[in-house]
Amino acid sequence: METIGSLILIAIGAALINNFVLHYFVGICPFIGVSRRVDMAFGMGCAVTFVISIAAFLSWTFTYFILRAGAPVTSWIWHVLRPDSELVPDLSILNYIVYIFVIASSVQLVEMYVRKFFPALYKSFGVFLPLITTNCAILFACLEIMKHVSGASDPSQVWGLDKALVLAIFGGLGFTLAIVMMAGIREELDQCDVPKALRGPAITLITAGILALAFLGFSGVDRGLAALFQ
């Protein structure tokens, strides 16, 4: 019960309360760039969700088994090399490089897949598909997972793969929700007499600000739900 409860909390937290776009303001560049049409926005949301899940799986695996202080694989190799050493190997310094490598390769995977099977979508994404590589929402998910794996002081608090994947998938769904909502609004805005200086990205950012105000209403829901599960 408690495990399921904490998973639900992570899911709701990532999708609604701490929505990647509307609470942490990461992943703004595809949010602004590909939110002109609802179907394109949905495609982008799916692509980001997919990449974020792959990246979360790989980065959790690397962090848990290799990178964190006292990780099993690294410790074993160190033990073989220097059997009499008292030092605990810690490769956390390599976190960022590994994550960037992982994200870039999973984006490449998605790009090849979309190019082969959805050529129209590939065309409409344009430069934004390779730009998922630099999408901070994905790096943010990886860093969030790192915080709970190598940053946890108490060994019982270290996140397992299930929590990492739930965070990534629901974070991606929250991103999809936000970008589809924004695309719906922007299609409506096409008919609006927005001042010339504010058309395009400016009005989108203002709208995102108002949406973020609305999402603030969810703050604290996680604490209320946590009380429910105990």
């Binding site: 589809v180 719906g184 299609e187 001042p195 609305a214 603030l216 829901v221 604490r223 429910l228």
Partner: protein, 335 residues
């Protein structure tokens, strides 16, 4: 003169020219159905709430309402002039925004909060999107959310005016925040002799005014019925689960701005869905979010956030809740 064509049109005697109008929707069956008439209807519907607010909060209510209304009208005139448009004050929409904004503020909020909220409501909520009829979010709620986040301490009503006219600077929380710990009697909650924002205190007044709006069809009944029905069902379930709780389903319905929001804020025709099915979806979702925020979140009240959030979803609802045309669904051609 810029206004010339319109004046010509108005001066033409009505009914003298008989010709068939062919145009795109909306097909108005009644030429008196203007924005101005609807806005005046809303103002008439707000009258009972205004009367209750003034009876309960005396001149504090008048002051707060005056600040919000006057600054909304002033900002509307200012921003319209800025954009080089003829001032749209005659359609009364700025007045309605100002009154609703004033009613959603606690009387104890300092004057500058009302002014800031009005500026944000008219400027960022409305003019930036191109003015009346094109705004995505309810302007009054944009303004209120802005000041709610910026000045959280000042937005809680921190004092209460006694029935005998003396000012009690007792920090009495609003019923919605105090009710979780202690019992609140229902009857004052229904009548409105409790603390809170100006417009949220009296359920009775909101019911009278909202009923008038629905009968006049200036507000669609689906939205308030959807909101209140959802709150009734969910609150009832919660009530059945905790029969000892002093916070019953009726407290959910009568307390806080539920009624005011359901009848006057959520039903804004610009920011609510067009189709009947869409209105049901909209109303029920607002009710769900209100209950989610009320029961679980740190805020005592969620009507404002729920309305803003669903305003953002309205374009998608409009897209997906297209009614089936007369004669059944259009058959999909087999490929």
């Amino acid at each position: 003169m810029v206004d010339k064509p319109k004046q010509d049109n108005e001066e033409a005697p009505k009914g003298s020219t008989a010709f068939l109008h062919v145009g795109s929707s909306p097909h108005l069956s009644n030429s008196r159905l203007t924005t101005q008439r609807m806005m005046i209807d809303v103002l008439i519907g707000l009258l009972p709430i205004l009367v209750f607010a003034i009876v309960i909060f005396r001149w504090f209510a008048i002051l707060q309402l005056g600040i919000c209304t006057v600054s909304c009208i002033a900002f509307e005139a200012l921003f319209s002039a800025w954009r080089g448009k003829p001032s749209p004050l005659w359609d009364m929409s700025a007045t309605v925004t100002g009154v609703i904004l004033g009613l959603s503020m606690p009387w104890s909020a300092p004057w500058y909060i009302g002014v800031i909220a009005s500026g944000v409501a008219i400027g960022i909520g409305k003019i930036v999107y191109g003015g009346l009829g094109q705004n995505i979010f309810n302007p009054a709620m944009v303004g209120r959310a802005f000041v709610m986040i910026s000045f959280p301490a000042a937005m809680g009503a921190a004092a209460y005016l006694d029935p005998d006219g003396t000012l009690k600077i007792v920090t009495q929380a609003t019923p919605m925040s105090v009710a979780r710990s202690s019992a609140t009697p229902l009857w004052p909650l229904f009548l409105g002799t409790v603390n809170g924002s100006l417009g949220e205190v009296s359920t009775l007044a909101a019911l009278i005014g909202g009923g008038y709006l629905c009968v006049r069809r200036s507000a669609s009944y689906e939205i308030p019925v959807g909101i209140l029905g959802t709150i009734f069902i969910l609150g009832g379930i919660q009530n059945l689960l905790n029969p000892d709780s002093t916070f019953t389903v009726l407290h959910h319905l009568f307390g806080g701005p539920t009624m005011f929001g359901a009848f006057f804020i959520a039903t804004d025709p610009v920011t609510s869905p067009v189709t009947r099915r869409g209105k049901w979806i909209y109303g029920v979702s607002i009710g769900l979010i209100i209950m989610l925020i009320r029961v679980f979140s740190g805020y005592p009240e969620g009507t404002m956030f729920a309305v803003l959030l669903m305003n953002g979803v309205v374009p998608l609802i409009n897209r997906w809740a297209i009614p089936i045309p007369v004669g059944g669904p259009v058959p999909v051609r087999a490929q």
